[in-house]
Symmetry: C2
Subunit: 364 residues, 2 copies
Amino acid sequence: MSELRSIPIILLGLGGVGRALVEQILSRRAYHARRYGIRLDIVAVCDSTGAAVAPQGLSDADLQQALAHKAAGGQLADLPFGYYQSQVQHVVDLEATAQTIVVDVTASPATYDALRVAQERGASIVLANKLPLTGPIEQARPLLRYPRLRYETTVGAAVPVITTTKRLAAGGERIDRIQGVLSGTLGYLMTAVEQGVAFSKAVLQAKKMGYTEPDPREDLSGRDVARKALILARTLGWDLEMSDIPVASLFPEEWASWSVEEFLSELSALDDDFYAWRDTARARHEALRYIADIREGQVKVGLEFVPLDSPLGRLRGSDNLVAFYTEYYAEHPLVLQGRGAGVHATAAGVLSDILELALFPLVL
Amino acid sequence: MSELRSIPIILLGLGGVGRALVEQILSRRAYHARRYGIRLDIVAVCDSTGAAVAPQGLSDADLQQALAHKAAGGQLADLPFGYYQSQVQHVVDLEATAQTIVVDVTASPATYDALRVAQERGASIVLANKLPLTGPIEQARPLLRYPRLRYETTVGAAVPVITTTKRLAAGGERIDRIQGVLSGTLGYLMTAVEQGVAFSKAVLQAKKMGYTEPDPREDLSGRDVARKALILARTLGWDLEMSDIPVASLFPEEWASWSVEEFLSELSALDDDFYAWRDTARARHEALRYIADIREGQVKVGLEFVPLDSPLGRLRGSDNLVAFYTEYYAEHPLVLQGRGAGVHATAAGVLSDILELALFPLVL
């Protein structure tokens, strides 16, 4: 199989998404060879403790061992072939060439400098990590303008929200509004409230089913939705900052400092508000949704009433949905819908980004 | 503005989509310069009679004159700067370089050789024309495998159906089924029938509103839907031919040879069938849809009953809708919806394809 084109991959992060990605890469080796004549070679994996590096590609056995070790709560620096405290920036500095694809599936702000090194080398970059794109615009802009960057899964997992936004923005048609339900957790909660479930009970149930972060305030604060909305707005070319986005949290500000247990025990104090909002929605023949609303150069995030007979009003359950209202998709928007989270769907979206870059090489 | 990067465009076809595209290119010049530092220079336009060619780019005045002349029913060969009977192949042969983007917005099988010349030169290619991709697989395959080909608008106008299919196929996850309503006309007719309108009356109304081709049999035969389904299947890597696709026409085969007038006058003979199908659908709590169904290596096209509570069942009116059921989008599919036709939406999708290729140059 010497005729396969090798694509060196540097993987930053070996949490749930990273491990799912490595598994997908290994299990699709034969397919990628047969159909595209390429082989994705993972030359380095990094976590916050260290790295495992092999310039000719880590062996499948070593990768499997790293996956098992990480899944069991271990760290890369402990591995026999791991390097202690190799910072990601050094790894990228040592290993990245213009042929490399650097893949960031961490949720860390600490990868930024490594990504810029990759960019200087002319390497390709794939982000599932939102943070490099949601910091100050001066930091995010050079990445966003880099033609060899893909970041589809930062919004809506494998649902092609970013690709679509980029395509619309590139053509240049007027984009009147992008309206989205960008949190499966909040979508699930709104559907439960609509069905008459007490808000507090719905949150506890969602937490039990693993739909929320360990601290549900991560979801209920709306900050993660705001980050996604910011990425969409910046993809349109708008120079907004996180601080420009009004974010309506679903709980009172003073609860932010409580322990998770205190927070959960007080949650039922919000139930009556949600019952009242649900009743208002019903009386108005509308639906209650937690929405990111992007229009006229501004972004806002919070609860809104939307017409029952609109794409967002018809949505049920935990799917994400994004409606693009544009010059040529005016009364009837262009709508994308699907699961917007989960390690496997996210890893699949990252893999699509990798292939898109791998199959469009610099020199044919 | 000498620092702008010029992108030479050779445009094949100056019908409705071609003219809308030229208008969009001209009106977005300032935007493309400011945001991307590029200028789309149309170096040649061709119709079936001839071509207008200017290696440094046709002037805006000449382009405007060509648009007005074509809109009034004229031909390019008549223009003072037009060349009589320059075949598209010769134009591409003379003008295309690796920097060129050749854009085919004809509905003609005659562009195929010109496209292959463009490919040999390493030029980029954008197709709104389905025919180069729906002929014998031996002819379509080399184009489909060409990394610098884009053909988003061959299915669903600017709705990113092809992009999404390519992304899913490239990653390599299991794709269980793609189910789509790929004809706005047939979607409109099914909604009307569902609402109790006689089929024949709905067809006449759709024709009056310009929703159908001048000969509505073009829509009602299902052949155009089959072509789109074939393109989707081939994008998945399946080597099917048009003749492999069972296509259920909405009218009896023997009516194909009649005049349009005869056909329309007999159409009410089909009304009772549609009333009966509608009643069956209602009794089964299902919806009647004209569907392209792509699964297990096979494609079929025709009327089907689908659950009311499915993405296709919930669809109303003339939007296209495609549902992807995959390994990671299993019970809840990934769904794309939006207007799938119209010269402006199609031209916008072609322009997005052009920008995608222009912004991902061979050498950064």
